[in-house]
């Protein structure tokens, strides 16, 4: 059942959230913000993205510049050093940054959603000042440590343990696949405090990096997003003060799941940026490359591909915006966020694939960015919840709606 209301601003809402007709034109502030991120991506990231990928270089200077622009802490209130904007703005920013460089978009997304996100939502005022404010400027980035060698999708089976000893927590275990690990100055990490309570016995902790008892495994050599560092976090009697627990004891799993819900919108946005970059590359090539006496854009085979790519990106984008707007309106958005991430990541891999096809041989060589988009896109179907998990989440929410 839909209830439509008209707001003084001229926008209408359906069931309380801004209707899709207002998605036809974003609010002025959002348009300006999107433009400034696009300008930055075009001028500062696009020209170096190939080099960052080839040499596996963390874009430290660019991250600092993005921090100065407020992009590393978009939702954080100004009082804590952030930009004080909403999640729709965040989604737009990540998409534009990712369009310039998929790796940099990933760093922005992880810092905003996975590291700052849970602290903003579940931290005490003191924790926010200590663990968020220094991470708003781009000087420091954070990471999120949930996955382990033995469990990714099976997050409830956390085998990393935390025991209390006097005024300290002592952590032991290994975390795997941690993005930003080698470049981070802190982590939000999940460990079991009460094994008997199963997933209700997991708690979240804040650990500075570097720190005695915390060491990093080797940097993974990845297919894509190569400018980001991915490695194991190894905890051997890593001691942190009691005050470093985030949220209440046993609420770790809930914190992780809620964080990933929002993080999904970030990754969807990253995937959109990569997909759009792939589409831009293919469409531009279709204008310029001639074969059979005319630009290949005149051939229906190429036109159909471009049309399919454009539809995939635009529909995923609307899903992503809707999820962000629902979150901003404080409405439930779990199903929509999962739908956005699923659609956007599959759009990214589809566009990456088809873009190489449109470019033919040129798509296969590193002279053109198409192969990098293809490689960067692939991870978006895996991290922050595999496409399979997204389908389970969507089905779960859907079936709940139909339950009598």
């Amino acid at each position: 059942p839909f209830t439509e209301e008209w707001l003084p601003s001229g926008h209408s809402t359906i069931n309380g959230c801004r209707s899709l007709s207002s998605l036809a034109e974003l609010p002025e502030m959002h348009q300006m913000m999107r433009q400034t991120c696009r300008d930055y991506a075009d001028r500062e990231l696009g020209p170096i993205a190939g080099k960052l990928d080839k040499e596996h270089l963390f874009p430290a200077q660019q991250v600092r510049e993005l921090g100065a622009m407020g992009v590393m802490a978009i939702e954080v209130p100004e009082a804590l050093g952030g930009a004080g904007m909403d999640y729709l703005a965040y989604s737009l920013a990540v998409e534009e940054i990712s369009r310039g460089c998929g790796s940099t978009g990933c760093v922005v997304s992880v810092n905003n959603s996975l590291y700052i996100g849970p602290i903003l939502k579940f931290g005490t005022q003191k924790q926010k000042e200590q663990w968020i404010t220094p991470f708003t400027t781009g000087e420091k980035v954070g990471c999120f440590a949930l996955s382990e060698p033995g469990n990714g999708s099976d997050a409830g089976a956390a085998s990393t343990l935390a025991r209390q000893e006097g005024e300290e927590w002592v952590l032991n275990g290994t975390k795997a696949w941690i993005t930003n690990s080698w470049d981070a100055s802190a982590t939000v990490i999940f460990a079991t405090t009460d094994k008997s309570l199963k997933h209700k016995g997991i708690s979240a902790f804040l650990v500075p990096m570097p720190h005695p008892g915390l060491s990093l495994g080797k940097k993974e050599d990845k297919l894509g997003i190569r400018a980001t560092s991915t490695a194991n976090l190894i905890l051997e009697d890593c001691r942190i003060p009691l005050g470093n627990m985030l949220g209440s004891r046993g609420s770790g799993f809930k914190i992780a799941m809620q964080t990933l819900d929002s993080g999904r919108i970030g990754i969807a946005s990253q995937a959109l940026g990569i997909a759009q970059a792939a589409l831009d590359c293919a469409a531009d090539y279709a204008h310029k490359r001639t074969a059979f006496g005319a630009p290949i854009g005149k051939l229906q085979a190429v036109q159909f591909k471009l049309a399919d790519m454009a539809v995939a990106v635009e529909s995923a984008r609307l899903l992503t915006w809707k999820a962000a707007m629902l979150k901003d309106a404080k409405k439930p958005f779990t199903k929509e966020a999962a739908m956005a991430k699923l659609a956007a990541s599959e759009a990214a891999t589809f566009c990456g694939h088809q873009s190489i096809q449109v470019l033919g041989g040129m798509g296969y060589v590193t002279d053109m960015p198409a192969e990098r988009h293809y490689r960067d896109a692939r991870i978006t179907e895996i991290y922050e919840g595999t496409s399979e998990i997204q389908r389970l989440v969507i089905a779960g929410q859907l079936l709940k709606e139909y339950a009598s």
């Binding site: 002025e28 502030m29 300006m32 913000m33 433009q35 400034t36 300008d39 930055y40 510049e65 100065a68 622009m69 407020g70 992009v71 978009i74 100004e78 930009a83 004080g84 904007m85 703005a89 920013a93």
Partner: protein
């Protein structure tokens, strides 16, 4: 007495790297419908310089001004997001906007600068769509103020401004008294990106609205555009094998 307010005068231009600019079928001008517009790059440099002067505390207030249809408020808003304090939108639309040229704009800017008692008027040296390079100079003449054009370096020294100008022969340094008009050249500075917090702050800054008539300016153009044509299509050249062939061909067609 330190200068109070600086006016930065902005121009909204056709985006220079837009794929194709087309001449209208009736040869009266170029097609602007649906073509992306944005702030003139030299005006961005002018905004940056004004904001920098304010950050160095040489001036108290930066006002961003632009003439044109509703669209120019976006340009003013961008200038506010870069750090200007308030904006003024002088509304010019329809036939008046199509006929608007440097002289009309200079009259408007001069009237505003006098009305608001500006100490400095900074503009981009020229707009990248018409390349006129006249507005700054005309504004200075109408106000009878000194001008420092093609500035690549600006330093405020008490009541005077030291301007390093890029000229054909190299660099010329002049010292002029305020109030004065400056125009920004490419190497004056690198404009900043609007930060997200400043975009949020820009929302609350005021943009005043007025019409040329409010300033007593008549918008009648003294220039009539007779015709706009595309540059002639480049004809195919001829390849020659030797230098002797080249000289013979040049002699044959009367070039030498």
């Amino acid at each position: 007495m330190s200068p109070a307010s600086v006016f930065v005068c902005l121009s909204l231009t056709l985006l220079s790297d837009y794929p194709v600019i087309r001449v209208k079928p009736d040869n009266s001008g170029v097609v602007t419908d649906g073509v992306k517009h944005s702030m003139n790059p030299f005006c961005e440099i002018a905004v940056e310089e004004a904001v920098k002067l304010k950050e160095k505390k040489f001036i108290k207030e930066v006002v961003a001004v632009s003439c044109g249809p509703t669209q120019v408020t976006e340009t003013i808003r961008t200038a506010l997001a870069m750090g200007c304090d308030r904006g003024i939108h002088v509304e010019v639309s329809g036939k008046d906007y199509e006929a608007m040229g440097p002289l009309q704009i200079a009259k408007i800017f001069a009237a505003l600068a006098k009305k608001e008692e500006a100490s400095l008027v900074i503009l981009g040296k020229q707009a990248i769509d018409d390349d006129c390079n006249q507005t700054g100079q005309m504004t200075a003449a109408l106000l009878d103020w000194p001008q420092g054009t093609f500035a690549s370096e600006v330093t405020i020294d008490g009541e005077k401004v030291k301007v390093v100008r890029e000229i054909d022969g190299g660099l010329e340094t002049i010292k002029i008294s305020m109030p004065a008009v400056l125009t920004a050249d490419l190497r004056l500075n690198t404009p900043r990106y609007a930060t997200l917090p400043n975009i949020m702050k820009a929302k609350k800054k005021k943009i005043a609205n007025m019409k040329p008539a409010d300033l007593g300016v008549d918008m009648v153009s003294r220039v009539e555009v007779l015709r706009v044509d595309e540059p002639p299509t480049r004809l195919a050249g001829v390849k020659v094998e030797t230098v002797d062939d080249l000289v013979a061909k040049l002699k044959a067609n009367g070039t030498i």
